[in-house]
Symmetry: C4
């Protein structure tokens, strides 16, 4: 296996589909949103993507079976338009792989007639974020203006380091194929899986898509995570009362 | 040489062959088992595999000649079914190479009509293991159930980090080619070559294969290794009597 | 997208074009000169180059839109001859990519009939440079002699480590295609973006090209940078009065 | 330029040629011998090899011109048989590149009818070596025996780590093409360029080739290096009289 393999699970006719990408990244914000959408909308898997650019690894499931590391595409039939949701265990382990997998996703977009892409991610601030915002970056000025109406914040020089990985490339290379694309990034500490930030992104996204999605599952995870963070902060304070506020030293867990 | 080369040493008709992979890995458990089987069963080499993904290296043998680093496949004619054994000096040095070499092995499986694969390895626990267990991960639920009967342990979330390398990929990608595959992992410290763990894996494997294999050579190596470990622990205690139990600080030797 | 893409923005007839390369590098000297030339000469973009060897990234612009990381070629119509200017956000992230992108540039040189290449860069000395010099390295002895007349310094064993990246390869591999090429390197500390060094390179280059270019913008940036350096040096002295002269410990900023 | 380029400088008929490889490596022993042979025998360059697996770099020569990093093959017309000498600025910067360049060299061997290869290198002992030996590793038992007659030492388990790079691969992969090959390694500290070790290798090699080669140039370099080593050892002793013998702490210079 030297090439990326696109494995069709189910053939579907799609009407005006929009692609939403939520692969793992900062705070797993994009992943949380996309997986939540798949569950709430009961989307069905139509494609599996295997690639030598993904880590050479299987994941062991609870029942003792394994799952080959891969990316997956789910489809949801909406009233006016359908959704395609890209999720996965990992992003590419190589720079070139990010380009290759983005190319695969864009080829599929052209095949299915996708005219708009939302890529979802987190924007690490290095500090705990009380009220997450949703930052945006789009591949056309019209899209920037449209997104502002849904509460997306466009801030000069943010993110300063650009957007790395598939979430960035789909927006950048999407332009070359005349596909409108915008990246929505929930602000997050970057240290922990952040369902609260994911809720904010989902709020904006469901307005933009004009769909209603239950939030309970994300809400529950957010509360659980808050409890964990609270405990961690207490432990930090107990251990080093005079040194730090305990807010910037947590490891990445979740 | 820019491509992986499959060099046929001998042409053979094989009946219902099962593939067993024992390339180097944690505690060299898989390698010990596969090489022991080759010796005990007097299997013969039928294929050599050279690849630019293996380290660019030759090994110098005792007689002054060299051996190009490679993977090898041996064949054994059993009563009801034949065995194919994959061994080698190294696994791939690159991520992509793991995929490529797994692809080569699976191509050969299809060519020879292999319907089941056993991949063998060690599962590093970070502590010396008195009574090694054999953990498993399979690519079908039926296989999980079948393996439990031979004493294989399927434990939730173990291995938590998944299975990396050819041992994992043969199981994961084997599924895509409709080949049943299971990875058997002997628990081991991860610090030393572990013939004792290899014995446990061999015990389970020979039950599963319904063959009888002498254990003496592995037994002898296990005893020798125990002596070495004992000495190392004494040395550790002598050097730092109050600091550690001496059990977790040994380097990887063997 | 697994291959480098050459995207033509505009078709142009070019007369006797000279190629000038100013991709990012030490002190961003080459980049400053090339971008300054594009602005002053009002050169127009004719080609965009996208490659999986560039970082997998988009840059977020001030208006909220993104720019896919790329290399670009601008054209300027001169009286007697035209100029092609190569600029970009990054150089290749891989060794092989440097060769590939250099190959792409040289293919375009052959297509446009380019007979001479100037590559521009900085030469890091590790110390603040009061009066930058312009060091050279060319791919023919005649070109070495010609460049000496414009004040380019050819110094034995400088740069001792050779010239790495596209600036070096265009000169080295250009020879194999019978294209004269010279690398002009402004001496610079290597710690900061250095518009003063860029001015020196531009002075030499405009003599060699026999064109006149306004220097004001570079002049202004040089003055601003001098103020920053002055402040940094003061801060250094204030913090560690007895330890260092403060001249060798500045981080790379700009 | 995405492929390795073999550039023919001169077409020659060769009779029974032997290939000698002396690319940079431990103590630059192989490089010193091969370059010495080229000079003494007045061999002429017939091939240049450029590759994206070599560092993306040019070397700046004393006259201000550059030399694209490459490997080169020189030819020498002997009485009974000709010699091909492989030298270069660098070995491959990637694992795969070692395989690719070895493949290129072996293709040329087949084209020119080469039936024997000598690869030359150093074997780092980590300590200053008063009387260098020449260790060997060959790809046939006959060749081992033949080489012993010329004073080559074949020592069990040496080199323990195998032979890495082109010097190893030519011997290992040469076997697959039915070309006899032996690697000759002069023992050397591994810290310094070692012309004394090179002399020993040359002595053995010229016996094996049955040619006479002046040694003066290597002799001179060896004496110069001895002076440098002597001074370094004095400096070491002066600086840390009680700590070390000064023999194991020298940096790699030459």
């Amino acid at each position: 296996m030297r090439e990326t393999i696109v494995r069709r699970i189910k053939d579907l006719d799609l009407k005006n589909p929009i692609l939403i990408e939520g692969l793992p990244g900062v705070g797993h914000v994009g992943k949380l949103v996309a997986e939540h959408l798949i569950e709430e909308l009961e989307a069905e898997k139509i494609i599996e993507i295997y690639s030598p650019h993904l880590p050479p690894q299987v994941i062991v499931l609870d029942d003792g079976t394994v799952k080959q590391v891969r990316n997956e595409i789910y489809a949801y039939h909406g009233k006016d338009r359908d959704l395609l949701l890209v999720v996965g265990d990992y992003q590419s382990a190589t720079n070139e792989g990010h380009y290759e997998l983005t190319g695969v996703f864009l080829d599929l977009c052209e095949e299915f007639g996708v005219e708009r892409i939302y890529t979802l991610g987190g924007y690490g601030t290095g500090q705990f974020v009380d009220k997450p915002k949703v930052l945006g970056a789009a591949n056309s000025l019209e899209l920037v203006e449209e997104m502002k109406e849904f509460g997306v914040v466009f801030q000069e020089n943010e993110p300063g380091g650009g957007i790395v990985g598939v979430s960035g490339l789909l927006v950048g290379l999407g332009r070359l194929r005349d596909i409108d694309a915008v990246c929505l990034m929930g602000t997050t500490s970057g240290y922990l899986v952040d369902p609260k930030s994911a809720q904010e992104v989902l709020r904006v996204l469901s307005k933009a898509l004009d769909i209603e999605v239950g939030m309970q599952a994300l809400e529950d995870r957010a509360k659980e995570m808050e409890r964990i963070v609270g405990k961690l902060q207490e432990m930090e304070k107990a251990q080093m009362p005079f040194e730090t506020s305990g807010e910037e030293d947590l490891r990445y867990i979740g």
